[in-house]
């Protein structure tokens, strides 16, 4: 369908906006727009308002760069959390994933990406400042690197490790190995090989 065939310019501009979303093409965009047109006016306005608020009111926690409603996010503001342990993650989705484990009681630091010049992200684009300050002030006992297990994740790990290398802080990283419930024969050789090299004393698995 070419652009001339839209019966209305307003429709066309709405379709154009929708098709900028990731994974949405012109056809899907038109379907979504026509769907919205059929809904109650108030529902659609509420939808639009939530988008506006999303952009205008959401802030990033000044301490950890997690998405937040207030200056400090709920996790950073909580006195129940261990503020001496920081888990370094790529983005907010990782925070949600780790929170869902219910196994972690420290705080987070969200980098907003990993070093990848091919995607336009250099070391200066990472949100590092408050973390470096906290570590330099001696407020942190342990840093847990929980970045993606890709080459770019590794590069970022190394970069951070070298940055904090001279400061007294324990640096750990997530274990990598065989998934729970996996058959060994279906585990890829690289993971399995690594699990063998970094095998655990059995007592620790009890």
């Amino acid at each position: 369908m070419n652009s001339e065939s839209y019966p209305s310019q307003i429709l066309e501009s709405a379709v154009k906006e929708f098709s900028q979303l990731p994974g949405v093409g012109k056809k899907t965009a038109l379907r979504l727009v026509l769907f919205l047109l059929k809904q109650e006016k108030n529902d659609v306005l509420r939808f639009a308002d939530s988008l506006r608020r999303l952009r205008e009111e959401i802030v990033y926690c000044k301490s950890c760069y997690n998405i937040s409603d207030a200056e400090l996010c709920d996790i950073c503001a909580s006195p129940k959390r261990d503020h001496e342990t920081v888990c370094v993650v790529e983005n907010i989705k990782d925070v949600m994933a780790i929170e869902n484990t219910q196994q972690y009681f420290g705080i987070y630091h969200v980098l907003g990406g990993v070093i990848s010049p091919m995607d336009g992200i250099g070391p200066d684009d990472l949100m590092l400042k408050p973390l470096i300050e906290k570590v330099e002030e001696g407020k942190i006992k342990e840093l847990i690197f929980a970045l993606p297990t890709t080459m770019e994740g590794d590069t970022t790990n190394f970069y951070l490790y070298r940055k904090f290398g001279d400061i007294e802080v324990k640096i750990t990283t997530l274990a990598r190995g065989v998934s729970i419930g996996d058959e060994l024969e279906y585990t890829d050789e690289v993971t399995l090989g690594r699990s063998l090299v970094n095998r655990l004393p059995f007592e620790k698995t009890l």
């Binding site: 990848s116 091919m118 070391p123 080459m151 770019e152 590069t155 970069y159 690289v190």
Partner: protein
Amino acid sequence: MFLKHLHLINFKNIELAQLELCEGINCFIGSNGAGKTNMLDAIYYMSFCKSFFNPIDSQNIRHEHDFFVIQGTYNLNDEKEHVYCGLKKGVKKQFKRNKKEYDKLSNHIGLLPLVMISPQDERLIVEGSEQRRKYIDSVISQYDRAYLEHLINYNRVISQRNVYLKNLKALNKAAHDMLDVWDFQILELGKKISKARALFLDELKPVFLEMYNFISGEKEVVEFAYKSHLNDDDFEVALRESRERDMILGYSTKGVHKDDVDFRIGGYPIKKMGSQGQKKTFLIALKLGQFKFLAEHKNRKPLLLLDDIFDKLDTQRGDRLIELVGGDFFNQIFITDTQLNRIKPVLRKINKESRIFMVEDGEFKQQ
């Protein structure tokens, strides 16, 4: 391991072919363009999930048709293995083992080891170092998955470093800090890659020499040597010192991505000094060395595909080659040739079962 039965539909110029193959030597005889090499390519396809010649799958479909099917039945440790490969234009390639489709094609590669000797191998000598690295990498990756992983990561490090260098305006402290990280990865991954390459070439060398000397009748002295920046004493220093230059050029000049293998004959580069027949002998010895290497690592004798093997070789070398591959060390072999009279006396000399297929216009008839 051997291929017992082969069934093709619409693969390249072959409309339909059903072949019963023998465990010894199978010959495809026909004139240029008849379809001999296409048959070898179909066999290659079943081992590597792609064509040896044309990486664009859809171009391997017979003209004016929209699909091809290759099916093979193998005897693997006395068990029957059925391999199916189907491609329809615009649809994802289907690859099945015993009617079960693979999630990842890489899981199939290595199951049916195969070595192809083709006139195209000449590229290994005449073209740039990239061809030689590609060759070494493809052989090692067939038995060492971790190697492939290191290689992929290494190449990504180089790509990231290159983009960073291209956009870099000044080589200040922050830039050095960042480059330190990539250089560390280049060093660590590079060591692993370089070690595996050196080990492979070391293991290959004695077998290669044995093969070369046998085919040539010990007429010439040949050798090859692995060359890598990593073997230089001060690689770390050199890597650091190359930063300025790398920044100006916009790419990384030091590392295992510049590795090469130096092929020599009588002390001189074979590319410049070798005759056509010597080059061919060199390449055949290299590939047969690879055969032995794979056979030991896989504990299974690969299929051996010989495309237009007698071209450029003198009669003595041709005879000795046949004597060699007719031996017990090799199992199933596929040979293409244009002349029946050349192949017949050759087969008589060998103590192996053989079958001849005459090829004409994509049709195969057993003689």
